[in-house]
Symmetry: C2
Subunit: 406 residues, 2 copies
Amino acid sequence: MTDPLRLGVVGLGRAFMLMLPTLAQHPLVRLVGASDPREEARRQFEADFSRPHLPARAYASLEQLCADERVEALYIASPHQFHVEHVRLAAQAGKHILVEKPMALTIEDCQAMIDAARRNAVHLMVGHSHSFDAPYLRTAMLIRSGSFGRPRMITAANYTDFLYRPRRPEELDTSQGGGVVFSQAAHQVDVVRLLAASAARSVRAVTGRFDPSRPTEGAYQAFLTFDEGASATLTYSGYGRYDSDEALNWFGEMGRKRNPESYGAARRALAKVSTPEEEAALKNTRAYGIAPSAIGSFARPAAHNHFGHIIVSCEKADLRPMADGVMIYADDKRWLEPLPQPAVPRAEVIDELYAAVRKNVPPLHSGEWGMATLEICLGILESARSGNETVLAHQRARGPVLGGGL
Amino acid sequence: MTDPLRLGVVGLGRAFMLMLPTLAQHPLVRLVGASDPREEARRQFEADFSRPHLPARAYASLEQLCADERVEALYIASPHQFHVEHVRLAAQAGKHILVEKPMALTIEDCQAMIDAARRNAVHLMVGHSHSFDAPYLRTAMLIRSGSFGRPRMITAANYTDFLYRPRRPEELDTSQGGGVVFSQAAHQVDVVRLLAASAARSVRAVTGRFDPSRPTEGAYQAFLTFDEGASATLTYSGYGRYDSDEALNWFGEMGRKRNPESYGAARRALAKVSTPEEEAALKNTRAYGIAPSAIGSFARPAAHNHFGHIIVSCEKADLRPMADGVMIYADDKRWLEPLPQPAVPRAEVIDELYAAVRKNVPPLHSGEWGMATLEICLGILESARSGNETVLAHQRARGPVLGGGL
């Protein structure tokens, strides 16, 4: 007999849409509340999630949602800049918290969120990020088994069309948390930290703004060093050209098979709008409560979520997380450690949240974890600006689930 | 009517074997002399290259070869540590010089070689390196056309079995020029410098020694910055596990189609030897004058030489050098700029040497060019040792063929 977690959602926007298949299908969670300023989103939410004896209630304000005593935990998926205030309110109301990445835009805000959760004795988790993806968790477990020696060198490269997906103006303004460093390095750094299995020490980086019409970081390269002597190179480009899904057998970020012939689709779609207002309107057509409800029509993904091409060179083998398993390149042979087809995408997020709230298992993706990842994202911006290596100061918090230095 | 260049070879070892198909087949070169301490190599050389009215003469010493007045230029393919002395002797004898990479083991030696060549008014070139490969030269020309904007971000990754090919003991001793930084970064850095099209400023790196039985650098990661704001990440592993030829449609470094099923072959072959002497003997079975002569039996390579997976993100397109052309990923479409199948592998080395000696065209791969590449290789070792970024000082020499800052 399971007793699903009763979850509230703060912000029925894009992040919620991406988590919808998980939240609607995972057996250990029930959506019982939400807050959003948009009336059509609230109406849709109540229609989609109300069950006999368990109505789903959507509110115009977070305060109202916090007052709903049925809600045990809140998934805070509001725009980045509101995270700190929303976490504070949630913690004060005694709700456990899953806050979307990036956790916040400053270290001070991260610390304030951690303090608020501690003061109110609630669990604070940060995610979804792709470091929850089964291929990375499985690779991390393989590394921690000790069979392959220590991880020494990680190459991570992701080439996507991120910058040409429809955006609101603030998503193209770095000072408001826009651009690929806040949105995408938050994933890539999280994954690399998980795989490096020791604390990061330093970051050297360069960022790229190649398109004046999208005036935020669309690309970056970063070089990380770690306590135990490991290093990592991270490359990200969101300019919609070379596509690293090629290296993942054309499984896309969401674990679905892609058509390699659809080259340039994001740019072509975006070329039809000519003003920021039109672009925001285009984005809005996909919004929850406006696009037709997807409830009941989720296709089971063929494979797992992923975040691009990654090779972890350990002392005794190279490990390569793929969408359907982990390729292991040992001295004498190579093989795929297969992962089962996911029943529900991103199930690992709910698994970890449920274990924290119900079984008091300290989460891997804790507030300290999220702050350490944000520090590296901020370090990427800082190093690119200064031309110097940035030494890191918030990386040594112990992560309880997968072991030391996380 | 061509008048082929009359070339002498200093050292009939492994580097010569790799250049043999080029030297034996390129219509603009004739091998007329050689020096090597091994008698069987000298005998083979005279048998392979003597022509009516143009005997090939092999000598036991470089001094004798330098005294052969028919020789116009010398290809110096002796072990790394002898390059500086051999270049000095060759220059004093008035011979133009092509010296193998790495040019030398110290900046002082590079400078001495450049000075010797200048004093004696001979051309000094450094190569073969993979930056001579047609796919990279073509990519560099495409970049310099201006059609794709400036190069901003380069990702270079090469995963090979370098460390498990049979070696002499000094090839596993970094102080004697062994390991992948001297031997392989010399290629990768050269290629990246060519593609970045501006002078490098700094290098941050970590090196890896994962196998105590091969006690030299078998892997490295480096982060380079360049004058015009570009950056590059370089990853190399010679540990024979993940194989980046996968990203080049299984064309190998020499432009031949590989069998992906031959996983682990280098380690398996090496596992049969148990002492350094046996390993040197195994290497020796492939040596010139011992292995059956390949003259007359060279297969035409299906594609060009290459040095792994490389993506150059320019402001307006990503360019990806492949073994058979250059993939261009533009905003609206992607396509392959095909390269013709090479008639002779590595022909570009002789083309550049011939143009220098016969037409006085200053070579791209000059002594200054080679010194700049070596400085970055030394910077990789230094940064890995110190844990700090290394600022570069010898990168601003003007390269005359492909334009500024090279």
